[in-house]
Symmetry: C2
Subunit: 407 residues, 2 copies
């Protein structure tokens, strides 16, 4: 018994060392019961408490899934600032090995982005219930990167600033027509119609979001200027002056970027213009399998090179690319803060597992945007015959007409 | 004789029709002697006067070279605004056929961008004599796209604005070190040292330009802060805070972009930042063979996708891409205007052929930037561990400290 215990602890020690190998020189100590493992020469700032040897083993067997699963199940806890811990691990973590890359590729194959699968993927995330999202998003329910002209601005104002920033990049003028692919709960479509006098056709395949957006349009008496359509972006019909898509490309899938470009060309032709806003990468990397399994099935964040598949075939000129990754870190900090303050309600709506899983997703997103792991790109583009090319970008930095008082 | 004349004219008519086929519905009439050819239903705004049937034949046999050669030799003239004529032809011209594409590819192979060939290529263009360039560039001899915060600004001020725009994008601070690849006549390196307090190492393989730049550094007593080095960018040595290259990527060649990225990484590592400014495309297209034969041997303007070869392998994050193509059109309008006013001197320095060839090059560049044919990209990037990521781009739009009076 003593002997087997000793063997068990030796194995545990060996397993802990393998974890240290994987996460590199991050300042982390591992605690299992009363056993403490620490890398010699590394001053630990964070303590990872692991419930038992089995969890430790699962963590090592498949860290990409294992960490998220153990954390969500409460079998792994982290002492210290959780976001900061993830930042340090992201910075020093080794690349996934070949079998992890193969498994990741396989998952991408299984979670394809065909119209029917896309509907399931979107349903799983965006139809969790509007009440859940109301707990931690801004009043207008924008679930994409905000823009903070001043980092201390409130989230509510920063979301309005973001909408203005995009409208200005698009140079919208009263009487013009806009098509929006992936409109969330409708705030941006309504903002464009209300504040810039354009007519908008907005598409989304999330049933809950479209229902909410239509209700808001009715309340604001904007139904005659904003049409919300529960359909796939591939079915966009009609002709418009401008195309816009904020936070949808992540759900299109790289195999469909050319098709997405064809849809844009069908909508605005050679003389139109547009903007796409999406989470991107500075090098090709899939989302972790845990994120795709538990949070965002079928999601993918492209590099700029990959995103060019949308524009090049139709000779669309890229006019402007802005990387707002620090703004997304700030946005998710607001979300996580509100989320933590509502965590009791989240547990009540779902359960502890769900509450922890979404905390990990939000904290991991902040860490990704703070490091070089995740980027946020806004690409403004114009057709080869577009006559509305802005002379410079100076007009983006005038005082916003839509925020009454800067906070 | 009458018969053969008739045959000749029938052939001429047929040849003119083939030219109309190639240039599409551009509003052009062709005149050869007393014969006028016009496309039915097209109201001609421009008259192309062709000296003889032989020129017409050469134009048709290989228009990509033939037009430039005939124009330079004075065997082809255009009545009407020459730039506007080129704009209309660019807009409607058909794609080159397979043999033209093959010839173009072959030329790219022959005019490679190895260190020794690069030196020849650069010598042929940039060592034409500083006195020639002084005739039509601004006082500081900047031979790259200017930045006009206001389109009516003078060229001199717009070049200063451009330098400030780049310095602000780089967030230069006193005491920092910068390496410049392709420094022209040295104006920008001197501007950075003088106005932003940085130390600069600037590389160029044009002997005439380096000699001029060194003289200017001596005159301005900036030799201790700016070192001009007559060498290939591939031989950059040392470690710097920032990398900058304005108008050199066009001479690097797509086969060398990864190597160029390695040079950048060697110079600024993971924590540095930089900017490259270059003529680009919205779709892959080589420069015309005439431009490569007569004006810019070995030059190539990449798409953004191709340019990503510089950044992706080292995981550099693209922070900002600005397309300044309208500013380059405006810049070359200034150059062409000054050039025309000095055309007598150009003929004196060279000859009529040269004077016409360079007029075509300048006018064609304006047309390219006005249409969707040529783009001008400024890409700001940062290494994966760079800590100097600007919060927003608002600081680029403050009043410039370096232009005393806006014109």
């Amino acid at each position: 018994m003593v002997n087997s215990n000793l063997k068990g602890r030796r194995l545990q020690h060996w397993l802990a060392d393998r974890i240290f190998d994987a996460i590199g020189p991050a300042p982390v100590r591992i605690v299992i019961g009363s056993d403490v493992y620490q890398r010699p020469g590394v001053a630990a700032q964070f303590t990872v408490r692991i419930q038992d040897g089995k969890t430790l083993f699962e963590l090592l067997r498949d860290p990409e899934i294992g960490f998220g699963e153990a954390y969500s199940a409460g079998r792994l806890r982290v002492d210290g600032d959780f976001v900061e811990f993830l930042v340090r691990v992201y910075e020093t973590m080794k690349e996934p090995r070949w079998y992890a890359r193969a498994a990741s590729k396989w998952m991408e194959f299984v979670q394809d982005n065909s119209p029917s699968k896309a509907r399931q993927n979107i349903h799983r995330h965006y139809d969790l219930g509007n009440d859940f999202y109301k707990l931690w998003l801004d009043r207008q329910m924008l679930y994409t990167c905000a823009y903070f002209p001043n980092p201390e601005m409130t989230l509510e104002d920063a979301q309005i600033s973001k909408m203005d920033h995009v409208c200005r990049k698009l140079q919208l003028e009263p009487g013009e027509t806009v098509v929006e692919a992936g409109c969330g709960w409708g705030a941006f479509a309504l903002h464009m119609a209300r504040n810039y006098g354009v007519r908008v056709k907005a598409y989304n395949i999330s049933h809950e979001q479209i229902a909410y957006a239509r209700e808001r349009a009715r309340e604001e008496r904007l139904e005659d200027r904003v049409e919300f359509i529960e359909d796939d972006y591939r079915n966009i019909s009609g002709r418009f002056d401008a195309f816009v898509s904020v936070g949808m490309l992540e759900h299109v899938g790289p195999a469909h970027y050319r098709e997405f470009g064809d849809v844009i060309h069908g909508a605005v032709g050679d003389s139109g213009r547009g903007l796409i806003h999406f989470i991107g990468r500075s090098y090709p990397l899939r989302f972790s399998r845990w994120i795709r399994k538990r949070i965002f099935p079928g999601a993918y964040a492209p590099t700029l090179r990959q995103a060019m598949d949308v524009f090049e075939p139709h000779r669309y000129a890229v006019l402007d690319v802005e990387n707002l990754r620090l703004h997304y870190a700030r946005t998710v900090e607001h979300w996580l803060d509100r989320y933590e303050r509502s965590s009791g309600k989240v547990v009540g709506m779902y359960d502890d597992w769900f509450q922890r899983a979404w905390r990990l997703y939000l904290a991991g997103s902040i860490a990704g945007f703070r490091t070089n792991t995740l980027q946020l790109f806004q690409i403004t583009f114009a057709g080869p015959r577009c006559e509305k090319i802005p002379w410079s970008r100076e007009h983006l930095y005038q005082k916003s007409p839509c925020i009454p008082a800067m906070s």
